[in-house]
Every structure is written in C-alpha cells, then in structure tokens.
Amino acid sequence: MSYRQIIADGIWQQNTGLVVLLGLCPLLAVSATVINAIGLGLATTLTLVCSNLAVSLSRRFLRPEIRIPAFVLIIASVVTVIQLLMQAWFHDLYRILGIFIPLIVTNCAIIGRAEAFASRNAAMPSAIDGLATGLGFLLALVALGAFREIAGYGTLLRQASLMFGDWGESMQLTLIPDHPGFLLALLPPGAFIALGLLIAGRNWLDAKLEGRRKQSVRQSNLTFDKAAAE
C-alpha cells in the first residue's frame, strides 16, 4: 500500500469519526468548542503514532495469543505518559478535558489500527497510518467543534488561552456578536445532530467526487474507443 493511499484512507476514505464511526464517545463529549477538540485530537493523534510504532516494532515477537493484551499494555502506557506530560505542561486544558484523556485508552480506533495495520506492517508505514488516522479524527473533531461552537456561542477558538497561554487571549473570533447562546448545540443531543449532519455532508461530497471520477473514466473510455475506431 502506498503512503498516499494510507494517508487518503486515514483522513478521508476510512475516517475514524465519520466513516468507521469508532471513538464516538470522546468525539461527542469533547467537541463543544474548537480548542477542546484540538486538544483531544492532538492527544489522540500522538497516541496513535506512538502505539502504532511500538506495535509495529514488536510485531515479530508478539505471538497471536498474546497480541491483544500486549496491545492494551502498550496503548495504556502511551496514554498515561501523554496524560502526565499534559498535566505538567498544559494543566488548565488537562483540567477541562479531564477524564477523556485517560479514556483515550478505550478509543477502539487505536486498538483497531494496532490490530488491523501496525501488527502487519513495517514501522514507517505504521507511523504514517497512525498519523493519518489521528489527523482524520482530529479533523472530524474540529469540524464538529467549530459547528457546535458557532451555533452554541457564536464564536470560534474561545478559551484559546488554555492551549496557547496569554497569547491565546486575543485569538477568539466572535462571528455572531451578542449571540444569545444556543443551548441545544452545546448539549449531547446537539452533538449527535451535528455529527449526523457532518456524516451526511461527507457522504454527499464523496458521492459527488465519485460521480465526477466515473464521468472522467467514461470520457477517457470514449476517447479511447474513438481512437480505436479510427
């Protein structure tokens, strides 16, 4: 499989959040604002890269019967390391994301990639796969977060100081001044509705791209036929 294919799969074709629908619990719970979404998305991406890399490097000596427990050990260690690092350097963000950082362990997407990809491929493609899958998840989170934050608060990047320090104070964009606040968007039902719309949007876009691809194939076949006829 080419790197190009791995990246396209992770980000678009097999997007964890929007196509495979794995890891929905954090996706829905932590996407009320863009900053929360970026925080969890980056932590998940880092976890995926590290765990894929570790699984791939140890794949030769992990026999099938102990593979799954070994993956769980590896993933749990990686997540705990990330949790400690976040607690030390991004403490305020950590306090907001709270339980969802340790819960990255239970994101099925991570053990899914370990089993389906990293345990069968070399280190480099596995790391790329982790990165692409993570970025796909990050993008889904950020899209959902942006949608909900605009609908719910009328802003983008509020509380950016949690991630960027004092420098982040000025990053907030107020798109709808005097927004009265739209509660539904911030509550769990709003997360489900927004996710549904997002999946529908992705499918629509995908169908459109597919249609265009088919058309161009047909056209090139036509020219080919013509050429053959001549």
Binding site: I66, L73, S77, L84, A88, H91, G181, L183, L186
Partner: protein, 211 residues
C-alpha cells in the same frame, strides 16, 4: 508448554518496558505537576483572599468531615489565613451534592467574625447556559454572597426567592442556585459552632485530598 512460557515472557517483557517508561516519565513530571496543582489552588484561593495574611495557606490546611453540615462521607479542606499568628479567615473547600447533575465543588471564604468573604465554584456539571451562571465568569450571581452572614440576611431568608428567601435564582434554573445557597448556609452554620476547632486544630499537611 514451551510456547506458553515464551508468550508469557514476551508479555512480561512488554509490561516491564511499559512500567519503566511510566516510572521515568512520572519522575520527570512529578515536581512540575505538583507545582501546577499548587498554582491552580492558589489562584482559586487568591480570588477569595487576595492579601492580608502572612502564612502559607497550602501548608496551614486541615482536612475534616462532618455529616451534619457537609455531604456524608466527604472530606472538607480548610485553608487557614493568619496575620501575625492571629486568625484572619478560613477558606473551606467542600461539595454541594443537591445540584442538578453531580457534585458542585465550592470554595467559601469566611472571615473570623463569621461574614462571608466570597464564594467560588471550582467545578460543576450543571447545564451549560442555565445552571452555569454560578460561575463567576458567566454571571455576577456568586458575588452576592460577599458580606453575607447568618445574621444578614436572617436565617429564614437563606434560600432562593422561589423558596421565600432573598437570593436570586436564574431563569429556568432553580435547583442549581438552591443547592449552592443551602450548602453555603450549612458551611456558615458549621463555622459558627466550630470556629475554635477550625483555627486551632493542627495543620494536616499529609492530607488525604488534593493540596
């Protein structure tokens, strides 16, 4: 048999690597994490008692429990502020459990004379947009407590307006402010009867709760 042993050894090896990695990172970050936690609690305490004390709030703290005034089975932390060894105020960290959704963690600063210096919500899971007006970032409501005491307003008025008291509730949300008002009132009553103990009990730096 041989294969089983091999597998066990491999799994054990993974566990050893994972554990040593964690031990290493923990050793590297422990000091910084402790400093961050101290910073957070000091910032919160600083909102209530900005100055006027010369002791270390984090070291002069005490943990206790009291089922009549605080939720059963939960520990309350008292941070004592003193100036020249004279008691100035105490900040109690406790939970209100009768909110709409889970615990509301509160800090209440009480002057030595029994007046409230201020109340802050540290964490809660109340409904965003309705119950979250208890946060100081969202509304001024919590500042209403400043200067109040058990005599001002009198005991029967320590309730939200819906219950015939003198504290505002929010449009569409009565349960959350009611929980906070009730919990603060109970904390004041505890202070009234246990003031001596609160200031004189030995500091408990071992503490079973967070710093």
């Amino acid at each position: 048999m041989r294969n089983i042993l091999k597998s066990a050894a491999a799994l054990g090896f993974v566990a050893v690597i994972g554990t040593s990695l964690l031990t290493g990172v923990d050793a590297l970050t422990a000091d910084r994490i402790a400093a961050q936690e101290r910073r957070v609690i000091l910032e919160q305490l600083g909102q209530i008692i900005p100055r006027e004390y010369d002791n270390s709030l984090l070291e002069d703290r005490m943990v206790f429990s009291d089922e009549n005034h605080f939720p059963k089975g939960q520990l309350v932390t008292a941070y004592r502020a003193r100036l020249n060894n004279k008691p100035v105020a105490v900040v109690l960290k406790f939970n209100a459990v009768s909110g709409y959704n889970g615990k509301i963690a509160l800090l209440a600063g009480i002057n030595f004379d029994g007046t409230l210096r201020g109340v802050r919500v540290i964490s809660h899971k109340e409904t965003p947009g309705l119950g979250d007006a208890i946060e100081v970032e969202k509304s001024n409501w919590i500042n209403d407590f400043e200067g109040k005491s058990l005599k001002k307003p009198e005991s029967s008025l320590w309730a939200v307006k819906r219950d015939g008291g003198s504290f505002d509730q929010f449009t569409g949300a009565t349960i959350t402010p009611r929980a906070v008002v009730d919990a603060v009132k109970l904390a004041l009553e505890y202070f009234e009867t246990n003031r001596q103990f609160l200031f004189e009990a030995a500091a408990d730096s071992s503490g079973s709760s967070a710093p």
